[in-house]
């Protein structure tokens, strides 16, 4: 698993139908502390708290959940300079039906917050991209986002790379 390969040991998640297979992997992995959330913003707090006591954390959510999390991202992660790997399903990306408006606002909001982000379009890139994003977030002490597209999450058999 790419996330474990990057040293991640605590993952906070909120489901999206396109994340379901990935979340099953997270749930079944006994080496990981998995925190299923009710709302994404609390996940930012949980990951911040766990980081302060030595955990390496990731938060997995849809981009709508990223919008839900913005106050915590600004006034906790950015204010205290706390790293966090955000793995965000890029709903409303090119070719993806239903969430076009959410999709159109995702990159502008990340840019406005000064959060560096990378778009994952090929599952084979996952382990390396996750490892590098983790190095960047730890070094910069700021959150870093990986936008994961439907074509990546759709390749179910290959999902173990994430």
């Amino acid at each position: 698993m790419g996330l474990k390969g990057a040293g991640i040991n605590l993952i906070a998640t909120l489901p999206d139908v396109n994340l379901a297979d990935l979340l099953r992997e997270v749930e079944e992995d006994r080496d990981l502390t998995h925190v299923p959330l009710c709302r994404e913003e609390e996940g930012i707090g949980i990951c911040a708290g766990a980081y302060l006591v030595g955990k390496k954390c990731a938060a997995i959510m849809q981009n709508g959940g990223f919008f839900n999390s913005n106050n915590a991202i600004v006034s906790t992660l950015l204010q205290y300079q706390i790293p966090l790997l955000l793995l965000i399903y890029y709903a409303g990306d090119i070719g993806d039906r239903t969430f076009g408006t959410t999709g159109s606002m995702t990159e502008p909001v990340l840019q406005a917050l000064g959060i560096r982000y990378y778009i994952m379009r090929d599952i084979d890139d996952a382990p390396e991209l996750i490892k590098r994003a983790q190095v960047l977030t730890e070094d910069a002490k700021r959150p870093v986002a990986l936008l994961v597209t439907k074509e990546v999450l759709g390749r179910r058999a290959a999902l173990k790379s994430l």
Binding site: P36, I44, G45, Y80
Partner: protein, 201 residues
Amino acid sequence: MKRFDCLKALAAVAGDALVVSSAGAMTLEWNALHPSDSNFRVRTLGLCSSIALGMALGLPRRKVIALDGDGSLLMNLNSLATIARMQPNNLTHIVFDNEVYEASGSKKTATGTGTDLVGVARAAGIKNSLWANSGEAFALAVTSAMKGGELCFIGAKVSTERTQVPPFPIDEVENKYRFIRHIEKTEQIEIFKTNLPASYV
């Protein structure tokens, strides 16, 4: 009840617990009574309980105390459901309920019109949830929480009376560094890793 008196009772039994407190006068009062690098001040309204949960899950053998307010918890009620789901037995969640947004102009919160936060916590799945209705009851509840190994939620109705205390002495980033260095020292773990410059490798 006066919040400051409750905090005094807590300071007497808190030991080396990690204490996460919601922004506002409560944090200043706590820090005046129990100055320590194990204190973490939260700036995002509502996030106190979630940050404390993260710490409790990250260090399951260390006591973690969340000092929350009614306005703060009302903004993140779902954290009670997540705490109940994770059942961290090292977490004590204390809510000082003065029924107003004290730091935001003292407007009434929903607890002032009848919302029962202990009832909400119990219904969310935190079995050991109770109102401490007197100073003695509060002291007893926190003493037993510090001794026991069970997740608990303690509510205390307090007046809006503030105690004169100094300001919080450090900013957010210094709070982070001091807190992490304190964890490294007391848990004997390395959290900040530094690398030699590339020319050395």
